[in-house]
Symmetry: C2
Subunit: 362 residues, 2 copies
């Protein structure tokens, strides 16, 4: 994550992992979520914060989930339905449950199918927000598989040349297992920046760089501006402008819709206003393609090659997807998760409201 998005040290409060897990689990249970689901939802959020992905951890997401449960926009006790199934595939109606809680079982189903046929692909629709989808991709990596997860939600990104937003930020995540290097884990929006980064920028007082957003008429903003208010901007597809390849970010956003929304037999939100998240889970059993050891050793060589590649002037080292997140996890497990003091105030308010013990900080 760029420096500008990080919590300024004077505003940060460190929270121990276990304390955050307990409080988040208890909040989910107060929303009516059964214990196991509450534990899984807390795990996704806390793992995301441990890995340094602040945009999709407790700070930005939990309060919106709580709000949605309170307004009955999320179903705390969903009964999912498998609408269609084949040896390698399934399509699930998530019954309005929260995506971060149902993503785990959906990926487990893809993994089970991959064990039988070599590949498993599951599409799920009608769920709430999916959080950081890399979490679900990693579940497959832990089973000696390559895992992919994508999700589509909301109407924020204006296609190349368009004056109106059509797509969500439609992230793509892929994870693959290693033997000795920290695992490969890529998880990124197909827009120039994730929607949550705008809120984070506002909270930490950061400005937006040229090419990150368009004005409300679809004209890419090519100067640095303060974080704008909702309704005053659209996000741009990765690339930013046509000349820099925004048609590729736009095409990748459509790829996510095809593999998630359309394969599930439903429509994007722009054509289906009640639309909830549509997601795609894929597990590729490495042993069905090649030797697992060969795969892992080859990937280790590659990742080591990448992180030891000669850096360009002004840079200390080359990173690979998953490496900085792995390093953040080591630090945060030992030293606690840094939250903005404003987020701690929210926890104090919500725990008081729900008659729960206060969140323990360090």
């Amino acid at each position: 994550m760029l420096e500008r998005f990080k919590v300024p040290p004077e505003d940060e409060v460190r929270v121990p992992e276990q304390s955050l897990r307990s409080t988040v689990t208890a909040i989910f249970e107060k929303m009516g979520v059964p214990h196991q689901g509450a534990v899984e939802g807390a795990d996704v959020l806390v793992m995301t914060d441990l890995r340094g992905v602040e945009t999709h951890g407790v700070s930005n997401m939990l309060r919106s989930y709580v709000q949605a449960y309170k307004e009955s926009r999320l179903n705390p006790r969903p009964q999912w339905t498998i609408l269609r199934e084949s040896p390698a595939t399934a399509t699930i109606d998530a019954d309005g449950g929260l995506g971060i809680i149902l993503g785990g079982p959906a990926m487990q189903l893809a993994i089970k199918k991959a064990k039988n046929t070599g590949v498993g692909v599951v599409t799920m629709y009608n769920s709430g927000h999916m959080g950081a989808v890399g979490h679900f991709a990693m579940m497959a990596a832990k089973e000696n598989m390559v895992g992919i997860c994508m999700t589509a939600l909301s109407i924020r990104v204006a296609p190349t040349f368009a004056a109106e937003a059509i797509f969500g930020t439609n992230p793509i995540a892929i994870a693959a297992p290693t033997k000795s290097e920290p695992p490969f884990l890529f998880d990124a929006a197909t827009s120039t920046i994730a929607e949550n980064k705008i809120g984070l920028a506002a909270r930490v007082g950061a400005s937006l760089l040229p090419g990150w957003v368009s004005d409300s008429q679809g004209r890419p903003v090519l100067e640095e501006i303060p974080a704008p208010n909702r309704g005053e901007y659209h996000l741009l597809p990765l690339g930013g402008t046509r000349e820099q390849g925004s048609h590729k970010g736009y095409g990748l956003a459509m790829m996510v819709e095809v593999l998630s929304t359309f394969l599930a037999g439903t429509l994007p939100q722009v054509l289906n206003p009640v639309g909830r998240a549509r997601s795609h889970f894929a597990a590729y059993d490495i042993a069905a393609f090649t030797d697992v050891d060969t795969f892992k050793e080859n990937l280790d060589s590659m990742l080591k090659t990448l992180r030891t590649t000669k850096p360009a002037e002004g840079h200390e080292r080359v990173l690979y997807p998953g490496l900085p997140e792995y390093e953040a996890e080591q630090d945060r497990r030992a030293n606690g998760i840094p939250l903005h003091k404003e987020v701690i105030h929210w926890f104090d308010d919500i725990t008081a409201e729900l008659s729960l013990p206060r969140l323990k900080v360090m």
Copy 2:
């Protein structure tokens, strides 16, 4: 394609589709390729030119293929081997055959598997160049499936912060069928521009825009420059700079390597100098997920919504991936394929050398 890459009208010669097919087929046969393979290779190249994707049609590619056959770097009569297979997957050693000729049979295998299990995934390595991989994705779309093809080759793209090139341009293609709209077909390099665009820019005298390439030390070039010579630059991942999201283009390039190279049990070229192309073919049988008619009608609604979205100031209309290529195909089937006069000279030379009839132009 940006205007700057198009053949200037005064330099273009129009060639009828059938004439180009016959000459290209005959050239492949002179290289020792059996008739059926020669026809398929010509089909991939000519379809690519018909769709207006000049970078990957006869102009840029055929002469390099001829050169490779002459130098025995391509095997005209490959015997592929299926190294490992499961109900939904297969891994193929392509025996040094040309990718554009073997890509069709590889996708057919993925389609056959998808008919049985819902999804089919095939990895193929040790092939020559794959051409425009969207061609193979479209094969699945014609069978009421979603098709994906990706390929990795060469060492041209410097990862974010790196001084050295590590990846190829690693394109991703996806196609999906429609009922009444021109089909969805996305096919794009995960670099800011495709390698072939540099050669094309040199041929048509176009300059490169800021953010398209780095200098030989990995520093992104942020001003407009003439097309540089080989060795004087690296390509940049989609995004261009870290601030504009080049780490996402870089991660997508690695995604292509994981699904193509590593799943096939082999290594990228940077770690395997004899390395040839590694590719990934996936077919998703729509009927295994939902009703085919629902899928097509939904996708039609979406594509129509996209092309009728209000355009931003200065733009006539919003396009979607596959629409301009469809329109180019209608024009070129009727009016011939525009080739640069320099390409016609090459055809005249090679047909003379191989004792073939001259390419018929309009």
